[in-house]
């Protein structure tokens, strides 16, 4: 290989130097299982550096890492309404890229915590208290105090 060919090879490879990022697959949440009354917002971020604009350090898989963090943040909950924001910043030695993912995590409605599943409404508690008072199990004073406590808690 002569020098001219070597120089051409270097130039061609330099002009076309690049990388393919890692593909990230966002799983769909099973809509029929979501408890839409208990959604919470979760957020995750991952960054990478393009050293001198050429050397990728954590650049190609940052979306995957952000999604893994997001899933970890959600725990057993299902993710939906996922949004992405990509930012960049010049940092003398290259460019820093940051990917931010936010989503709403919904729990499985079939896995409601026992405390919530057995929680009674205020009117149910009031009815029970009234029955106790009418049956004479508690005095009028106890009834009034308990009623007031329930109202204060509410």
């Amino acid at each position: 290989m002569n020098i001219k060919t070597a120089v051409m090879a270097v130039l061609v490879s330099a002009v076309g130097f690049g990388c393919m990022g890692t593909q990230v697959h966002f799983s769909d949440a099973p809509m029929e299982k979501l408890d839409l009354s208990r959604g919470r917002t979760v957020k995750a971020r991952a960054s990478g550096l393009h050293l001198f604009g050429l050397i990728p350090l954590g650049i190609n898989n940052r979306q995957v890492r952000a999604y893994e963090k997001l899933k970890a943040e959600a725990g057993e909950d299902y993710l939906t309404d996922i949004t992405i924001r990509d930012g960049w910043k010049w940092v003398v030695i290259g460019n820093k890229y940051v990917t931010v993912l936010t989503a709403v995590a919904y729990p499985d409605k079939t896995k409601r915590p026992a405390a919530i599943a057995t929680q009674r409404t205020l009117s149910e508690k009031m009815d029970e208290l009234k029955k106790l008072s009418e049956s004479g199990a508690i005095t009028e004073l106890e009834y009034k105090k308990a009623r007031q406590r329930l109202l204060n808690e509410f």
């Binding site: 330099a14 002009v15 076309g16 130097f17 690049g18 990388c19 393919m20 990022g21 890692t22 593909q23 990230v24 697959h25 966002f26 769909d28 949440a29 809509m31 393009h50 604009g53 050429l54 990728p56 650049i59 190609n60 979306q63 993710l79 939906t80 309404d81 996922i82 949004t83 992405i84 924001r85 990509d86 930012g87 960049w88 910043k89 010049w90 003398v92 290259g94 460019n95 940051v98 936010t102 989503a103």
Partner: protein
């Protein structure tokens, strides 16, 4: 008079330096996975792609809107589609002496 010009030049120089040293941008929040509409009708798998460049490491050219455009391009492939399901996203980049080009590819099942 010369002193005033020198002072103005110095101020301008500092302003430019500050602008360069703090250069950075972020895209809008782009929804890539949304709750599918009730009784979603599948329209087939689609793919959208959009590129942007970071010229000279500080000048963004269509860079900040690339994900948004890629998603819109994918949706446009299936007329009437309102959302994508089973979404995948990939970003590739290419260096070209004067900067880098980033290309976002989004694919998914179009639904309405």
């Amino acid at each position: 008079m010369e002193k005033i010009y020198r002072q103005a030049g110095r101020t301008l120089c500092i302003a430019v330096m500050l602008a360069v040293f703090t250069a950075g941008c972020a895209s809008h929040m782009t929804t890539i996975v949304s709750r599918p509409p009730a009784h979603a009708q599948k329209l087939g798998r689609v793919e959208g792609r959009a590129s942007g460049s970071l010229f000279q490491a500080v000048i963004p050219i269509l860079l900040n809107s690339r994900t948004e455009r890629a998603y819109a391009n994918a949706l446009a492939k299936a007329p009437g589609a309102t959302a994508l399901m089973d979404v995948t996203l990939r970003e590739d980049w290419l260096w070209y002496y004067l900067g880098t080009i980033s290309t976002v590819t989004i694919s998914g099942e179009a639904v309405k």
